[in-house]
């Protein structure tokens, strides 16, 4: 590892808030990209099943 200890990793020579802030936002964007299509898929399939049940096919 490049950093000697945890403190220098967190502070990054004064650039810590910028670097960690950017990565936090990156994590949020990746998370949203992953979770939102999975939820949308579950909702769509549940909706189709409900519709089929109403039509008496399920």
């Amino acid at each position: 590892m490049y950093f000697e200890d945890l403190n220098s990793l967190i502070s990054m020579g004064g650039h810590g808030p910028y670097v960690w802030g950017a990565y936090l936002l990156g994590f949020i964007v990746l998370g949203w990209n992953l979770v939102s299509p999975i939820l949308h898929r579950k909702k769509t399939i549940a909706e189709l099943r409900r519709q089929l049940r109403r039509e008496g096919r399920l």
Binding site: H15, V19, L25, G26, H40, R41, L48, R49, L52
Partner: protein, 239 residues
């Protein structure tokens, strides 16, 4: 081959592999970049944002080109799957375009001393974000799916003109933004210990995008093909 059923089954088989590789790649690229690369001699540690910023910006452009090509194919040859692909690509591209802009602003503050300048690269990238948001809003605003597809195809193809402007803005104009780090024709102007994790990160972000794109597209296929026997069979309809 372009049949939705075939695509649905084939993509279902690829999904776990694409997702697994993307996860390993993103973790490797980011942890390597954050913890194991040396700091830049000019920018110090702030440059570590590159492992997030460059993949996002690259994706924002590539996703837009793919979107416009898909929409164009759907428009000209009336292929349903192509229009669905364009629809699924818009929110993904918009989110990475926003991430590239925001991480760029965060990187700009310690490096340039300002969050934002109206230079050619930053402004054209902001226009790309508005194009993405415009495409999403346009599709939402039109009830008829066929009309929405045609309108979005035209807008996305007109918007293509912005892509070379973004790409070459750093060469055509004097921008505060630095030139390209990796050039296909000239190789990379970067030390290998920084370049390798950057390339891993770029590759992994592309895989991640492919992964979430496939999930979105599969849902759209199920929704659009809900009257067909194979979707009904999958949902458990007794025949």
């Amino acid at each position: 081959m372009a049949s939705p059923k075939w695509f649905y089954e084939f993509s279902g088989k690829c999904l776990p592999w694409v997702g697994g590789l993307a996860l390993i790649g993103v973790l490797t690229g980011i942890i390597w970049g954050l913890l194991f690369t040396p700091p830049d001699y000019l920018q110090g540690n702030s440059y570590r944002i590159i492992f997030l910023h460059v993949p996002s910006a690259s994706l924002a452009l590539t996703v837009y080109v793919s979107l416009a090509i898909s929409a164009g194919i759907g428009f000209i040859w009336k292929i349903k799957l192509a229009d669905l692909a364009a629809k699924c690509l818009a929110p993904i591209g918009a989110s990475f375009c926003a991430l590239a802009l925001v991480t760029g602003a965060i990187w700009g503050k310690p490096t340039w001393g300002t969050w934002w300048v109206w230079d050619a690269r930053l402004t054209s990238m902001l226009i790309l974000l508005f194009l993405y948001l415009g495409l999403i809003a346009l599709r939402e605003a039109i009830t008829s799916q066929d009309t929405a597809a045609r309108a979005c195809a035209v807008l996305s193809m007109v918007g293509l003109v912005n892509i070379p402007i973004i790409k070459f803005s750093v060469d055509w104009w004097n921008t505060l933004h630095q030139g390209a780090t990796i050039k296909v024709t000239k190789g990379a102007s970067m030390a290998p210990e920084m370049l390798i994790p950057l390339l891993i990160s770029i590759f992994a972000f592309y895989l991640f995008c492919l992964f979430v794109f496939l999930i979105r597209l599969r849902t759209e296929i199920v929704s659009r093909e809900q009257r067909t026997s194979w979707v009904r069979g999958m949902l458990g309809v007794r025949s």
